[in-house]
């Protein structure tokens, strides 16, 4: 993985001291709340319902065991002993003390981590495919490009006061596992006929109040031009994006109101002026960064006997193996998903003991690296198949082996009204209700993506869930709007509204109705999306609303 050099380290150390000064000035009344707000947000610090919330970047979802140990220590020492992984591969701490945040940032800096631009109207963490480098269908590893973009975007002097937040996601495979179509800029690595690496560039995707699927603005931007092209898009957005209404300030609205053709012309005209300038990437620089992501030192393994025997011996292990692991491109290795959707915790939450334990397992079994995924789970991506059984045993002891990846209990869920000052409705207790209802039938029910947000800002990606749940406020009461048929795959799609909003105490039953209709109508192993497409919304509507 990428390791900081002198420049990277100096930069984040100085940024910590800069933020320490800003915090001190705020605490001593020399900065107003209004002035401090954008400054603290640009360093990942929100003021939430109960306490500040600090969001820490995990660039493209890659963590070392040392970093995970540090996060465990921060959770234990500065927070209430746990953290929450987000849909953008970051971690949030919900209970830090404002005056201690500079110390937390200093601890993060000591393990090459930071919270720079994890919030605010600036370029946010660059996310990517959690299977980068290990999936067989990959055209090129996206992580070196993510790192190159991360560096360009970090403390960018021109793009730190954008009209609104700005998110990049990069995918290196034809199958999109990074939700690139719902990002402000989505990049798809491709090769042209001459074998050169480049990117299809999507622009203007996003969830929130106005969910939009991104559109292609360029079919092929060569790798050496990617920063100048990104700069051209950002400059066009910074100049012309709306600033009169924060709900209309994202680039998706600018693209819609300008029209894709005209917007493309504006970007291209800007790009032509800067394309041959200082942002052009040299092959030396691309190769320098790529060396950090060279293939790991895999062993040659041609014997799968141990695993076959283990699978024969334990049904629970077999179930976990089928549900929570994936084939690796290297023979003899397997990708292991670490479920953060146990029945005993809120989705995406992990305590310090689990973090430390997992960091040790990563050292023992997976080259000391851990990935975060956009569906709020973790992964050990490079495990020898012969080690899967002992790994599973130890993950089970840590309550990190719930065999539910991809099922209805592996839901995406925002923190909701319990923590977030934006939320209209709670999501964690609904999640708990769904988990309780489906824990024993989840595997039998099959793959269903359920995504839930406590308000229309959509942090829980409800618009692209096969089942989406959106919390709404009706005269001070919490109600829930259901949508069906969304998708976050390479053909992203927004879900359709099922009908009128549902009262809080009826939500779990409604989800159960939907699952029953699916199960009654599915043919063979047909998945939820295909059944829904074949039979339409009506049978689901009938069941959910007639049951009233």
């Amino acid at each position: 993985m990428y390791l900081y050099d002198q420049l990277d380290q100096t930069l984040i150390n100085e940024r910590v001291e800069q933020f320490r000064d800003q915090t001190n000035r705020y605490l001593s009344g020399k900065l107003t709340e209004e002035q401090f707000r954008p400054l603290r947000l640009m360093n990942g610090l929100y003021i939430q319902t109960h306490a500040p919330m600090l969001r820490v970047n995990i660039p493209y979802g890659l963590l070392s065991s040392k970093q995970l140990h540090a996060l465990a220590h921060i959770a234990q020492h500065y927070d209430k002993g746990y953290g929450h992984f987000t849909t953008r591969q970051n971690i949030q701490f919900n209970w830090p003390k404002l005056e201690q945040v500079p110390d937390i940032l200093a601890e993060l800096a000591s393990v090459q981590m930071h919270a720079i631009q994890s919030s605010g109207n600036c370029i946010r963490n660059i996310t990517c495919d959690p299977l980068a480098g290990v999936c067989a269908d990959e055209i090129e590893d996206p992580r070196p490009y993510c790192e190159i973009i991360r560096q360009w975007a970090t403390l960018h002097p021109e793009f730190s006061y954008l009209p609104r937040k700005f998110k990049f996601a990069v995918s290196g495979s034809p199958k999109d596992r990074a939700a690139t179509q719902v990002h402000d800029i989505g990049l798809h690595i491709k090769k042209n006929d001459a074998g050169q690496i480049g990117f299809e560039v999507l622009v203007g995707g996003g969830l929130g109040r106005t969910p939009v699927i991104g559109q292609t603005i360029a079919d092929f931007i060569a790798e050496e031009d990617i920063l100048s092209y990104a700069e051209a898009i950002l400059r066009t957005y910074n100049r012309f994006g709306r600033r009169d209404n924060k709900y209309k300030a994202r680039i998706k609205i600018l693209v819609r109101e300008t029209g894709l053709d005209k917007f493309t012309q504006q970007v291209n005209s800007e790009w032509q002026a800067i394309r041959e300038g200082s942002l052009k990437l040299s092959q030396d620089e691309i190769q320098r960064v790529k060396r950090f992501f060279a293939p790991l030192a895999y062993q040659t393994i041609d014997n799968d006997n141990a695993l076959i025997q283990d699978l024969g011996n334990s049904g629970s292990f077999r179930q976990w193996f089928i549900q929570n692991t994936l084939t690796h491109k290297q023979t003899g290795y397997q990708v292991v998903f670490v479920s953060l959707k146990s029945p005993h915790r809120a989705p995406g939450d992990i305590n310090s003991e689990q973090m430390s334990g997992l960091a040790e397992l990563a050292d023992q079994y997976s080259f000391g690296q851990i990935r975060t995924t956009h569906d709020q789970n973790l992964a050990l991506t490079d495990v020898r198949r012969a080690d899967l059984y002992p790994l599973w045993q130890q993950l089970s002891k840590l309550d990190l082996a719930t065999a539910n990846i991809g099922t209805i209990t592996d839901m995406i869920c925002c923190p909701g009204l319990d923590f977030c000052s934006l939320a209209n409705a709670s999501s964690i207790d609904i999640a708990q209700g769904i988990t309780d209802r489906f824990t024993h039938s989840a595997i039998d029910t099959g793959k269903i993506s359920l995504k839930m947000s406590g308000c229309m800002n959509g942090c829980g990606h409800h618009s692209i869930g096969e089942i989406g749940i959106l919390g709404v406020d009706k005269k001070g009461e919490q109600w829930y709007q259901l949508t069906l048929g969304g998708s976050d795959s390479h053909q992203s799609k927004l879900g359709d509204r099922l009908g009128k909003a549902i009262a809080k105490d009826a939500v779990v039953d409604a989800i159960d109705d939907i699952v029953q209709v699916y199960k009654a109508n599915r043919v063979d192993n047909e998945n939820f999306a295909n059944t829904l497409q074949r039979i339409g919304l009506q049978p689901f509507k009938d069941k959910v609303y007639d049951a009233d």
């Binding site: 420049l7 100096t10 930069l11 940024r15 002097p157 021109e158 793009f159 730190s160 954008l162 910074n238």
Partner: protein, 148 residues
Amino acid sequence: MTLIKDKQIIDDPWCYLSDGHALKASHTIIDPDFWHQNKRSLSGASSPLGLMIPGDQELAELANDLTYFSLIAIHIPTFVDGRAYSLAKLLRERYHYKGEVRAVGDVLPDQAHYLTRVGFDALEFTDHPSASLALKKLSELSVCYQPG
């Protein structure tokens, strides 16, 4: 007002026409409307002229006029409005403007560093303590990732 120019606090030789100063005074900053209405008479003036533009100014409209101005001030209505940063960058890099580029309006000391990095060489602050703090803030970060 306290002015930082080239990373030092100096007395400001400029005044704004909008403040009621007579145009005859040297070093007057005018707005685009006044410029367009009086271009003929102003373009022959020997005393330095400045122009204050808003964040949504289309620079192409001024491209041929930039040589008349020793100073371009960009008005920042609120400190979270980042358009001025792109305008300054374009003035310097696209239009090769060599005169003073000044940030005017709602500017925080914490923004001084980024402002100077995109091409501003003059920053106006409401008072001396803010300007002094801004000077300190200019040297907080000794490295950066972006070229140029």
